[in-house]
Amino acid sequence: MSSTSTTSLKDLFLNGIIKENTIFKLALSLCPSIAVTNNLKNGIFMGAAVLFVQTMVNITISLMRKVIHPKVRLPIFMLVISGWVTVTSMLMAAFVPDVYAKVGLYIQLIVAFASILARAEMFASKNSFMPSMADGLGMGVGFLFALTVISFFRELVGKGTLTIPTSLSSAHVITFMHTKPLLIMVLPAGGFLAVGILMAFFNWIDVRYMKKGAVSH
């Protein structure tokens, strides 16, 4: 993972989205992916918050990596992460208060995300600025992608609507069905079901893709 000389920035970026997708492949950070994804708008904003924190943490750690003493690196990582989470949470409270009211608790929880600390420890503390940023962006976009897919699926199936954010403060609600087709999907139990089904689906795609690749080689 630290051999950046052989991997291009593009590969680093795509790695976080496809091969090591935080939710669908590593099964990390499942708490927010179940808690906030019953609404597309909340899912997108939560994913964006993680994207921001992940990228900024990776950049900061990689710039500081020469001056961090190895023995105290974990507390320092935690401080950096909490710093950026506080920035994110204050920004969201100021600019998107209605979303913050729903997902605020989980924004604070980003501090404890295994994926963010893992990238800081395994990648950013060993690599220079550009690869770290690419890695952070890739991981964050992968998370955003996963949360968007999950919340899209859950809201569509559970409520028959889609809440698409048009700007920071407004959202457009498209109603497909006036009855609730499958109410359980917006309830907490449905979160587990949605994550499980989508995880199986992406793994299935992966297996098919890998098989095809093996045949063509």
Binding site: T179, L182, L183, I184, M185, L187, A189, L193
Partner: protein
């Protein structure tokens, strides 16, 4: 003489004496035992009940066949477990689901998919499922379509009638308005008991007639397919708790009989809680399992948000079945308990 005898010897691993009981035979016998309750459901809820039950049986079998084909395993349709799940699922649904405006006919189909594919097959198929598939199917339907799943038709003895008045279940009335109102609705106390026993009351298709279910349950007991431990401890706990805490006026004022023969109590105790796969197999453990089911049922009925708690009680106790089995495991004969040795440092 000696040589011919030798050739007839079959060398095999134990067990050497096999009974002719097979999984499929048990499944079909349980299905047969459900027939009295099914017939009573047909009598009281008519053609709609038949359609809903048939729909869920067919969808369960189709989904089972489809899944087995998809994963490349041999068909297991003949073992009857898909049929039984579909039958139980259908019998646990209200007949009012057979309605086209609002459209609710898809509910048994989706619940069957959930029961067979997600609850049973994804966990490894028959014998590996943690939860009772039919109950999960019903719980899924109840949570997803809370309104459609709680429209109860008034029983009519007219078989072909497609229009029916809707009404509340006895347990619903008991929860909302109390026992005195329930007795008032049915005339007098004796009349209420008779309606509950015969099945002439609102409810799911197969759960209404306590007598018919009891016939099936006793048949299974006689055939030794189930043991008395789970149903008796389940029913006894419910009766005891209903007697002590069921009354509005104070302790020891409740009516245990109403609680015993209303709702899904009978069907749950005789056919759902006794499912081999999802209940403990150790006898003492089965008693604890039954007590747990009864306790949770009464907690939900008396204090919870739903008028009926049998389904959730059994599902919650299903989680504990492996733990109970481990706790009550018989001591291995001749085995000596190893004294705990402190690790030498």
């Amino acid at each position: 003489m000696e040589s011919t005898k030798k050739e007839q010897l079959i060398v095999s691993v134990s067990p050497h004496i096999k009974s002719d009981e097979t999984t499929s035979r048990i499944m079909w016998t349980v299905s047969l035992a459900l027939m009295p309750a099914m017939l009573s459901g047909l009598y009281f809820f008519g053609l709609k009940a038949l359609f809903i039950t048939a729909l869920s049986i067919i969808s369960c079998m189709v989904f089972e066949q489809w899944y087995m084909k998809m994963v490349g395993k041999t068909s297991v349709l003949s073992d009857g477990s898909g049929f039984l799940t579909g039958l139980l699922l259908g019998m646990n649904m209200p007949a009012s689901l057979w309605s086209f405006s609002p459209f609710t006919v898809h509910i048994p189909v989706i619940a069957s998919f959930f029961a067979i594919v997600i609850t049973k097959q994804l966990f490894g198929g028959l014998g590996y499922n943690v939860f009772n598939p039919a109950l999960i199917g019903r719980a899924f339907a109840l949570i997803s379509w809370p309104k459609a799943m709680t429209i109860w038709n008034e029983p009519t003895a007219a078989f072909l009638a497609m229009d029916a008045k809707t009404t509340a279940t006895p347990l619903g009335i008991l929860k909302e308005e109390g026992l005195s109102k329930l007795i008032e609705v049915f005339g007098d106390k004796m009349n209420l008991y008779m309606h509950l026993l015969s099945g002439n009351r609102a409810g799911s298709i197969g759960e209404t007639s306590a007598i018919a279910i009891l016939i099936g349950g006793l048949f299974l007991l006689y055939k030794k397919y189930i043991s008395w431990h789970i149903p008796v401890s389940f029913l006894a706990t419910v009766a005891l708790m209903a007697w002590i805490f069921g009354g509005k006026e104070g302790l020891f004022q409740g009516d245990p009989i109403v609680h015993l023969i209303s709702g899904g109590m009978m069907l749950g105790a005789w056919f759902m809680a006794t499912d081999y796969v999802t209940s403990p197999s150790v006898r003492n453990g089965q008693i604890l399992f039954g007590i747990g089911c009864g306790f949770l049922t009464m907690i939900i009925r008396l204090k919870g948000g739903f008028p009926e708690g049998v389904m959730f009680a059994i599902l919650i106790m299903n989680c504990f079945a492996p733990l109970i089995d481990r706790g009550f495991k018989a001591k291995v004969f001749g085995a000596v308990k190893q004294p705990k040795v402190k690790e030498a440092k």
